[in-house]
Amino acid sequence: MTGTFFWQGRRVPFGEGQTLAAALLAAGLRDLGGPDGRPARIFCGIGACQACAVTVEGLGVVEACLTPAVDGMRLGPAMTGDDHV
């Protein structure tokens, strides 16, 4: 599926089958705003480092590098603690 998702309200286009990580990087969005103002960013690409964690509306906290983009998805920086075990 090709489409658009929203990073903190900003439109991010994605290509067929792409992960959130690939689309965010292609759009030049590198700082994903980690906890306590520390930068978060796509780092290992394989779901291990958790530095690419983002909050997706309706899904909770997921790794951007593992999650396929879906048209209309709304996401933003991951918050620690709250909706997250």
Partner: protein
């Protein structure tokens, strides 16, 4: 023996090798993979058929085609569940899996478990490694395989090991040759290691092919050079590099780092053969032997599992392949061996918890690994020490090894949303002491 399936976690070469061997022996398999497609780190598939293929040796493409065909032929015997993350084991040896598509956590009671979750890249910390724009070389490589597109702007590749060469050549072939490849080791000064590698001609040919590609694009391969620090400079990065006695700064858009691969870090779960549910490791997650050997190691683990379950005899057919891979990897390790520069106090060690070298220095010099975790909180964030664990161990080489990171069991191995857990029916699992410990720690 019941007809309970064997759970195989990870659909890379090792997991596929294991699942196919089990299915061939008539054992039902549940194969879970966190991504939406099979392949693992090496065979990460393009996001769509339009995506251009990345430079790679023909034998890798052949190997993947064989595994994919085997999976198709196994039919219903292998229940493949993609987008499904293995979370860990609960107190009753149930395997908890998170179906991300249905947002549902499920407890399986398999006859046995083979964890084929792959390796994690090593990254030695330096000031600024946590900045946006710094990525692992392997991470950049899997994204390149997914999108067919190299990152825009100048790229520097640095660290140690053969993956640097592969990634640099693949970037060059995709239209963005890196400004340089910085190898910390000095492979030309290790002739015996070089000679030992000749026993694996396919790997050597692959390396020579990458080197030729870099030569053609005029990409310098600098040995004995190490990154000492990185700073942001507007949208760019200033990368400080020490090369012998000389220092220089590269201004680039992206820095790709990699210091080799680490086994065993991906779930932290160790093998058990005598419990009610045997757990075996396979592939690079057990021992770094490379992609070709990972398939053989998956088969080896499957044979051992069949023997443990009384459904067959362990075969030794793959031992030769594994032995050759082991010798090759040992030679590789000697070839590039070089200690990283010691990181200054301000260096971030544990990104999740925001802990620096200075914080580590404040802890008792004789603190055990367990104390470093529970008191110092090193490795207690969401990555669970998959990255910082190796750095802490390197900075505290004398910390009691009997109390290594895995001595502090944690569940889950990955984040899981409360929404998914809410649908999870088994109350016994919710009162698991390990879960309690985990929440109290936060």
């Amino acid at each position: 023996m019941s007809d309970a399936p064997v759970l195989v976690v990870g659909a890379g070469p090792a997991g596929l090798g294991a699942a196919l061997a089990l299915a061939q022996a008539g054992v039902p398999v549940v194969l879970t993979e966190q991504r939406d497609a099979i392949g693992g780190a090496i065979h990460r598939q393009p996001a769509s058929p339009q995506v251009p293929k990345v430079l790679r040796p023909a034998r890798h493409a052949r190997s993947f085609a064989m595994l994919a065909a085997g999976l198709a032929a196994a039919g219903g015997r292998i229940d493949l569940r993609t987008s499904t993350v293995f979370l860990g084991l609960d107190g009753a040896d149930n395997a908890l899996i998170d179906d991300r598509r249905r947002q549902r956590v499920e407890a399986l009671s398999p006859a046995g478990i083979i964890l084929a979750t792959g390796a994690v890249e090593k990254v030695h910390p330096f000031p600024g490694w946590e900045l946006p724009g710094v990525m692992t070389a392997g991470g950049a490589q899997v994204l390149l395989k997914e999108t067919g597109r190299a990152p825009d702007g100048p790229v520097l590749v640095a660290g140690s090991g053969p993956l640097l060469l592969a990634v640099a050549a693949q970037l060059a072939a995709a239209g963005n040759p890196p400004v340089a490849v910085l190898e910390r080791g000095r492979p030309w000064r290790r002739p015996t290691a070089l000679a030992a590698m000749l026993a694996s001609p396919a790997n050597v040919a692959e390396g020579v092919g990458y080197a030729a590609r870099l030569l053609r694009h005029g990409v310098p391969y600098v040995t004995g050079a190490a990154v000492t620090a990185v700073r942001t400079q507007g949208d760019d990065l200033d990368v400080m590099v020490r090369h012998g006695a000389a220092e220089r700064t590269y201004r680039v858009r992206h820095l790709l780092v990699h210091d080799g691969l680490r086994a065993g870090a991906s779930t932290g779960i160790t093998e058990t053969r005598d419990g009610p549910v045997p757990v075996l490791l396979a592939g690079d997650g057990r021992e770094i032997l490379g992609a070709d050997a990972a398939v053989a190691d998956g088969r080896r683990a499957a044979a051992e599992m069949l023997a443990l379950l009384g459904r067959g005899a362990a075969s030794a057919g793959d031992e030769q392949t594994l032995g050759a891979a082991r010798r090759f990897q040992a030679a590789l390790a000697r070839l590039c061996e070089a200690p990283p520069p010691s990181p200054p106090p301000e260096t971030l060690v544990c990104r999740c918890e925001g802990l620096r070298v200075a914080d580590l220095d404040h802890l008792r010099p004789d603190a055990s690994m367990r104390e470093l975790r529970l008191v110092g909180r090193f490795g207690m964030g969401p990555c669970q020490g998959r990255f910082c664990g190796a750095s802490v161990a390197a900075l505290r080489p004398d910390a009691d090894p009997s109390l290594k990171a895995s001595a502090v069991p944690r569940w889950p191995v990955r984040p899981v949303s409360l929404a998914s857990l809410a649908g999870f029916g088994d109350p016994a699992a919710r009162t698991n002491p390990r879960i309690h410990q985990d929440t109290e720690d936060r």
